[in-house]
Amino acid sequence: MGKRRSVYLSFLLGPGAFWLLMFFVIPSLLVVVYSFMERSSSGGVIWNFSLEAYTKLFAFDPDSLFVNDFVVIFLRSFWWAILTTVACLLIGYPLAFYIAQQKPFTRTVMLFMVMIPFWTNFLVRTYAWKFILNNNGLINTFLSELSLPRVPLINTPTAVLIGLVYGSLPFMVLPLYASIEKFDYTLVEAGQDLGANYFRIFTRVFLPLTMPGVAAGCILVFIPAVGQYVVPTILGGGKVSMLGNLLAQQFGAALNWPFGSAIAVIFMILLMAGVLIYFTVEREEEAI
């Protein structure tokens, strides 16, 4: 029995485990190891243990806004990811709610429309936004046709946020839809029956029961948004840089692999801590 069971398990888990080992576990460990090595000015690392990367990352710089410019980029990335997540939630929740109320056919069509953007490369779609937000782009052309002043959009934080929200919205809508769609509407009647108006039913019944969707959507939006590279590069023009840009810079132009690795390690630790806290809280609630 033991043998059959192990054959069965390796058949089911083998391919996935192999994939994760080769393309996730080993590269991640490599990044951790690199972060403790010495920089080689020609790229790569010199195999000598060094804490240089980490001391650089946390070195105090009196000219910087907060600790040093790297920490500022960390904070900015997290702040923008939070703004993106909140904006996606505010747009996505009503949208998911509306879709879930429709007849099955309309529902399928609308969900399909939410997913259609995935058919086009994200880079191409982000370039399309550049043409919309440009100084001579769609919006500004329209404004000048109406004899209104042009607004600078491209290469501003606003443009980056628009791009981030645009790219992340489906990842918020789909899990929200899944949990709203499962909601049992007799609970709304039960709430009304017990004297609750629509507002209180929403806050006491509907929202708490669709919270798993909110949480899943927020995680799916927040984590990729923190590390976004394409959007701040194309719509921020490199002026407004996020973690992704900083990382790319270290492995590219700056040729400082240990420092880039250190940034990646700290970034991973922060995100993993966040997700762990979330799952612990979730599990405790489950257990009650």
Partner: protein, 365 residues
Amino acid sequence: MPTVNVELRNVTKRFGDFVAVDNVSLQIHEGEFFSLLGPSGCGKTTNLRMIAGFELPSEGEIYLKGHPVGQLPPFKRNVNTVFQNYALFPHMTVAENVGFGLEMKKLSKSEINQRVNETLDLVRLPNLGSRKPRQLSGGQQQRVALARAIVNRPDVLLLDEPLSALDLKLRKTMQFELKELQRQLGITFIFVTHDQEESMTMSDRIAVMDHGHVLQVGAPTDIYEQPNSRFVADFIGETNFLPCKVTGRENGLATVVVGDKIKLQAACEPNVAAGDEASLIIRPEKINIHTEQQSNGQNHTVLPGEIVEKVYIGTDTRFAVKLMDGSVVNVRHQNMSMNDPVTQVNNNETVFVSWQTAAARVLTS
């Protein structure tokens, strides 16, 4: 005259072209256990939902303690519902579920706690307040749903097939408990069910519904002993139907011919007249079987017949007896003693069936 608690006056509910409730008028008395009984799709649940406020009547008005409430939303009516699937809030504890209505009324925490605990005691669920609904059995969930409704002291409690998800034994217990609880609280209960036995055992009065109409309203005995239509007679209990033709009527009794041979008398509704095509109905337990010819006494109908089927079921023996005209009546004979000659008769033997004249009824609708 009892006080009227809930009144439906000429209430109609349409869903598109479908008429779910058709011009229904009902008066439900204060403190009464009232059942809406009928097959699925008869409009009983729609009626209940209109009283609760989940549906608004297309026509007519609903009065609660004399005040029109037909167009009010549910949260403005002092009415509570026990839902068929209980509809407990899964993310709240039992105590939070039960206290929800009081919380909406903005009562103080201590008063909510006190009333929640009292009510949980009342439905015999003490010490379960901190559990989540999914940690409870079906019967316990049922009690929580009940507690959540009665804790608000509603003018009327609506119950939408609340026992249908429970197994038979638990259901019997809950029937008894519900009835007991209603007696203790004195709250008007409106109970929707398709189970005729359930409604008979629990109700003070029953309204039998079919296709959006109320066919008959009355106490269980009225409904069972004097059904006013074939539907009611058929839906409640077991009945023999014999097609017949009315030839005359006097002193409240109709004279009918069954087939073309059997002429007899039976009780009838006032609207029955000579010449009507009708049904003679007689309950199986009201028919006696004899092995010897009985004298055709006053107020008795006696007919010869032949046993075509005999089934022993313990308390009773069920016979199918073929009458002279070929129609078959089912008879329930109670097994008082196995020395009783009736229990010894076999198929194809000739017997005599008899019943009290007034026990049979002639119905035209």
